[in-house]
Symmetry: C2
Subunit: 329 residues, 2 copies
């Protein structure tokens, strides 16, 4: 089978590509070809077991989406997006990439199907940013999408398009709303949510990290490993069991900063916890207060999507996958 | 003040224009100019008390939206859309008119504001088709938008855009989800919902009408008079009281076909009811079963939008507004 990954150079895209290369199969079928696309060049894997192409460019320019799907891939992972902060700063770019880009892709698939039957699986990563405060403590599967950012608006619109194109039979789409990824690998970044990962990742590598909010702040998490599990399950699930509502809040772990720090202590000892410097930041606190804290992800759970058990499991996955099995504070 | 009505030749557009011409003012302000636009020529009113222009054309062609708002109207009523059935039959046309057309209008307003400050009120008519079965008996203000038609998808997307453009300050938008209009004036049409009006309007004019479903079928209604009331209230309401969730399910009347017929009997007597011929239609029944039956329109009610009291009131409004005050069976 031929798989295309859009947004392959991003954190989730890289991890997904690595996993596909390692497994060599998706569900019951062998992978015969993998196309990795991003606006910056995706890493070219070393000695892949099957044909791998990389493609670099803006997928919103005319013809780009058509070229990407010209060989009629069986599965398209659409992870490409500009992030929340940038979509808020640059209104036009956000709508061009996150909305128009997605629509161009969907239209390219639909039009390919007008030539001869074509109905690939399209797996789209949405976001919990489709929800906007005020919301209940636990957000259920029938809760209103009322985003308070342009990014969340763009994701919500793509969800609606995905359901309609799927209902029409133009492709078999499924959208998954990812929790905040934690522990996010790499360097600390300026994202308002960055500290949730920084306060674990940095101390486990012997580095200091800043905690800008109080320990009772609650949020919704999934490890990178769980996120890749969601994507693979979404790519192989029987969509008849999903029904017409094709966008699902993924199960996650609802935890407080205090619970994160307790897990850090168990994994890295008191010396790791001491590397967390408290420096409150009213701006970050205000942003975080507008985010969902917990979900009742009944549908996704019933459909077999699996969350991390607890923060100890999240830290174990991080230590195994990123630190070669050793917390090195 | 200058008002533009898009979709001015439609049923709601005509009634709104008539009302604006009659009132000569909107809220506290005198109307100085009214621009009526539609794809077919809107009726030119006789001796208006202020300047009235009519414009005819496809508002989705390049430049059309810019021309329409070139004189910076204070209020834009955007009622233009192709209907549910057509949007389902013609996928591309539905998205072009109902989604792209709306976005062109919103973009034209945003870009005009980049030249010099401009922030008109935009009143958008959405639809209960943004909801899709299964839903609860009463749909609340926080219920998921999960449309099961392309029309409903297009309306839901425009709602999201309207909220985001409003949040950004590009215009002051408000979207109102109209109940099924009843009694719809004019001739019987092929819309699946047509019978709800036909079984009242036709017998009150001495004509036979077909009832394709059982008397216990429940649906959600507003009179044309109530619908115009919603539009005028939306155009003048203090949006600070509405908050960031700019799309509201309008209050309506939840009633069964049996309740319609009982009101018909009170208004037109037994001879009117005898003109309703029962002829069950499985296709129409199946479509109607997928429609919302009732809403808990708390927010709109608290914000002062007013529903019809009962079907007797709906029939009285019809008899006064359409039949010169006399039920003429």
């Amino acid at each position: 089978m031929h798989i295309v990954v859009l947004g392959a150079a991003g954190m989730v895209g890289c991890k997904l590509s690595e996993r596909l290369l390692r497994d060599g199969r998706l569900g019951q079928r062998d992978i015969t070809r993998l196309t990795l696309h991003d606006v910056v060049a995706p890493a070219v894997p070393d000695k892949p077991g099957f044909k791998v192409d990389t493609a670099t460019g803006d997928f919103t320019v005319p013809g780009a989406a058509e070229t990407l799907i010209a060989d009629r891939p069986d599965v398209i992972f659409h992870l490409a997006a500009i992030v929340s902060g940038e979509a808020e700063l640059d209104f036009e770019k956000g709508y061009r990439i996150n909305l128009d880009g997605t629509r161009f892709l969907f239209e390219a698939v639909r039009k390919a199907g007008l030539q001869q039957p074509y109905r690939p699986r399209v797996v789209f990563t949405s976001s919990i940013a489709v929800f906007g405060a005020p919301f209940p403590d636990k957000i259920g599967d029938e809760y209103l999408l009322a985003p308070l950012t342009s990014y969340g608006t763009q994701k919500a619109i793509c969800e609606l398009l995905l359901s309609d194109y799927s209902r029409r039979g133009f492709f078999d789409g499924i959208g998954i709303r990812l929790p905040t990824i934690c522990v996010r690998p790499g360097k600390p970044n300026k994202a308002a949510s960055g500290f949730f990962s920084n306060i674990l990742r940095e101390p486990l590598s012997g580095q200091e990290a800043v905690l800008p909010v109080a320990e009772d702040v609650r949020h919704w998490f999934a490890s990178p490993r769980a996120a890749i599990g969601f994507l693979l399950h979404a790519a192989t699930i029987d969509l008849a069991t999903v029904g017409p509502r094709r966008n699902l809040s993924m199960p996650g772990l609802s935890a407080t900063v205090g619970e994160e720090l307790a897990a850090l202590k168990r994994a890295g000892g008191e010396k790791a916890v001491k590397l967390v410097r408290r420096e409150s930041d009213a701006t970050i606190l205000r942003i975080v207060e507008g985010w969902p804290r917990d979900f009742d992800a009944k549908r996704a759970t019933a459909l077999g999507f699996k969350a991390d058990a607890d923060f100890d499991a999240i830290l174990r996955a991080h230590i195994e996958d990123e630190l070669g099995g050793k917390a090195g504070a």
